[in-house]
């Protein structure tokens, strides 16, 4: 890495000015997501918990082999979360009617991602294709993105000493850029996962709910949550029963710190004037000046 003077100055200006502009991830207040962004719709009523998606994800991303094979159903007895070795996991929940329901977890690829607005080196990018991708080459490993993510998705390589990275689903970005679909979507035998333009997926979800009102809860999780996500869910049981927080609200997360960041320039402008004023008023200055004067006299002698 070369640090040029120009770069340094750029940084200094960015730091001071940074905050002057307080430019969160997607600064536009009315940003509604990229119009042509892709997304994925998970229909929980179709999932049978076969974990084919986990296996496909593992292969597509070259992740380490799992402790227990992917067809071992005993894995489902314990709640799991995404980890450095698994970008997606399927969990089993009681459906409240004596049966079970499964939900696949992975990065939800928010329209205005909390992780991106948390990152101090812009390691995260919300691409126009909809994927939120992570750049391990500039990441410091501060893990603030993990604190910020409302879904608790990013995982970290705690046992990697030399180049620990954040690990999370990238929506198989390389595949979708070439017109493909994510590996998990391709692998699903039940058509639980539908990949497509986000706007089209919302229409599909609405249609399914309208056609089978007795089968679905009348809500698309992710349509508006935290400002909308690319990965969305429809379900036959209330979302909190399958571990999706119903209280996240519709506010995009970058909004949450915007107020603070916009107060920063006020402090930068007002404080010097105010404190300088106190200094002048305090009479401290006169004495200092007098002291300087007498010191000069002494020097002359």
């Amino acid at each position: 890495m070369k640090i040029s003077r120009r770069n340094f100055l750029k940084g200094a200006v960015a730091a001071g000015g940074a905050s002057l502009l307080g430019e969160p991830a997607k600064a536009n207040e009315n940003f509604e997501g990229y119009p042509d962004a892709y997304g994925c719709l998970t229909d929980l009523t179709r999932c049978i918990g076969c974990r084919s998606c986990e296996e496909a994800c593992n292969k597509a991303n070259g992740l380490p082999p799992p402790e227990k094979p992917f067809d071992d159903e005993s894995v489902l007895e314990k709640k799991r979360r995404t980890s450095a070795g698994a970008y997606t996991v399927v969990n089993k929940y009681p459906d409240g009617k004596g049966g079970t329901v499964f939900r696949k977890t992975q990065c939800n690829h928010c329209n205005e991602p909390a992780c991106a607005s948390a990152c101090l080196v812009k390691a995260y990018t919300k691409t126009p294709e909809g994927a939120v991708v992570y750049n391990p080459d500039i990441c410091l490993g501060c893990r603030y993105c993990m604190v910020a993510c409302p879904f608790g998705v990013p995982a970290y390589e705690y046992h990697n000493a030399r180049s620990p990275r954040i690990r999370k689903c990238q929506m198989c970005y390389d595949r979708i850029k070439q017109g493909g679909v994510p590996a998990c979507v391709e692998a699903c035998p039940m058509e639980t996962l539908t990949f497509g333009k986000r706007s089209a997926l919302i229409k599909i979800a609405r249609e399914r709910i309208a056609k089978n009102p007795e089968r679905y809860i009348d809500h698309i999780y992710g349509e508006n949550e935290v400002g909308g996500t690319s990965w969305m869910y429809i379900s036959g049981v209330p979302f909190e029963q399958v571990g999706l927080d119903p209280d996240l609200g519709r506010t995009p997360y970058p909004e949450l710190t915007r107020g603070f960041l916009s107060a920063v320039p006020l402090v930068l402008v007002i404080w010097p004037a105010l404190l300088g004023g106190f200094y002048l008023f305090s009479g401290n200055r006169d004495e200092e000046q007098a002291k300087k004067g007498s010191a000069r006299e002494e020097n002359r002698k």
Binding site: I3, K10, A15, A18, S19, L21, G22, E23, A27, R81, S83, A84, A114, S117, A118, C119, V121, K122, A123, I138, C139, L140, G141, C142, R143, Y144, M146, V147, A148, P150, P154, Y156, Y158, H159, N160, A161, S163, P164, D245, G249, Y253, P254, L256, T257, G259, F260, L261, V264, V267, L268, W271, P272, L275, G276, F278, Y279, S282, G283, N284, A295
Partner: protein, 411 residues
């Protein structure tokens, strides 16, 4: 060269610059003998146990020494080292503002100790960061390579770096005095007012920014602690935390290193302690009201009956309102001992608050959580020990609690 020889000649025969400046005027042998104190032996044992763990962290990764996990990404290194360490190090900006900007001259004996405490506090906050960050050698990235301007953490990184430099500048007159570099000292003193104002701006912003970091965790941080007022709460609590640290620091140094303190300071320290206590009580009362407003604003009353509520009430009543009254009563009775006791309760209270926000009350909805890894605590204790040793090293050598030569007495 001739200058250096002239310099060397200033010292007593048989002693050199190193004897004078580093060994505190002793020969190497008697200096080493002096070092064999019970305190140093305990400190040495802590380092022997802890330093290998720090090496382990760099050899086997963070996971080898912390309880931090995917669910609980911030551990003790940040909870203690950064989130508690930075408010404890607010001492420098508080005393410099009081004395240089507000003209409260009588507190001058406490400015240098406060600035030194601040500098060392920030320096070791960065040390904790270097231990905690996955790739600490990439710390220059937010400075030079990639600017996450929409991130509160970006602001924190820049401000902590800038403020660390400003505090070194603010303390440099003492260093130059120690090195007998008069011209440099005069130059550094000339920058005092500018550095102080810049320091206050930076402190205001990053103390509050540490709170603003958690604005991004509304679903994770317990409602009793989550509040849009977090930045203000962090800033105000940093003030009384810093005031209390100054009281404690003076208490410890005046008690255990009296030979490093100017004799005339002993006459005024009780009075100054009372003054600091008054200021602390006032800011704590403000903080208590703000806490009340925050709970009311979030309408979080219903959580007060839960176990998190008990922790919250303990923090707000036991560690804020109670020491606040102790401060007030100490001031009214003109009893500095009471004020010192209040300070000793106040600082752990702020630490409790920061640990609650960065550890205990974060991810409160998750059922199984782990906070404790003995190795993590050992590393933290080791770094704190080095911090204390570094502080003592400086106080023993540089004019911190002593005024400088007559011409410098004004500063």
């Amino acid at each position: 060269m001739t200058q250096e020889i002239a310099k060397l000649n200033k010292y007593a025969p048989g002693t050199s610059w190193i004897n004078e400046k580093i060994f505190m005027g002793l020969s190497l042998r008697s200096y080493l003998k002096e070092l064999l104190t019970p305190f140093n032996i305990i400190a040495g044992m802590i380092l022997l146990a802890g330093l290998p763990l720090i090496i382990l962290r760099y050899v086997s990764g963070l996971g080898a020494v912390t309880a931090a996990s995917d669910d609980q990404p911030f551990g003790l290194f940040l909870g203690w080292g950064l989130f508690s360490g930075v408010p404890m190090a607010s001492t420098g900006f508080i005393m410099a503002t009081a004395v240089y900007l507000f003209g409260l001259k009588k507190y001058k004996p406490l400015v240098r100790p406060a600035v030194l405490t601040g500098f060392i506090g920030y320096f070791f906050a960065v040390i904790f960061l270097l231990i905690d960050l996955g790739q600490p050698w990439r710390l220059p990235n937010p400075m030079f390579r990639s600017f996450g301007t929409g991130s509160v953490l970006f602001l924190v990184a820049w401000h902590v770096a800038l403020y660390l430099s400003v505090q070194l500048l603010e303390f440099s007159p003492a260093i130059f005095e120690w090195l007998e570099a008069r011209r440099l000292q005069r130059w550094a003193i000339g920058l005092t007012i500018g550095a102080t104002i810049f320091g206050v701006i930076l402190s205001t912003l990053h103390q509050s920014a540490l709170g603003a970091l958690f604005l991004l965790a509304p679903g994770k941080l317990h409602p009793l602690w989550y509040s849009p007022y977090l930045p203000v709460l962090f800033f105000v609590s940093a003030i009384f935390c810093g005031l209390s640290v100054i009281i404690i620091e003076a208490m410890v140094i005046y008690r255990f290193l009296p030979q490093r303190v100017a004799p005339e300071n002993f006459k005024v320290i009780d009075n100054l302690t009372l003054g600091l206590g008054k200021a602390a009580a006032f800011t704590m009362l403000t903080y208590f009201c703000l806490k009340f407003v925050a709970v009311a604003h979030g309408d979080s009353w219903k959580y007060l009956g839960t176990s998190y509520g008990s922790l919250f009430l303990l923090e707000v009543f036991g560690f804020v309102l109670f020491p606040c009254f102790l401060f007030l009563s100490g001031v009214r009775k003109q009893n500095p001992a009471l004020v010192r006791l209040a300070a000793l309760i106040t600082v752990p209270g702020v630490v409790l608050n920061r640990l609650a926000i960065s550890l205990f009350a974060l991810n409160w909805k998750l059922s199984e959580r782990e906070f404790f890894n003995p190795k993590e605590y050992m590393v933290a204790v080791t770094v704190i020990t080095i911090e204390i040793l570094a502080y003592r090293w400086v106080v023993n050598r540089m004019p911190v609690h002593r005024g400088g030569p007559a011409t410098m007495a004004g500063h």
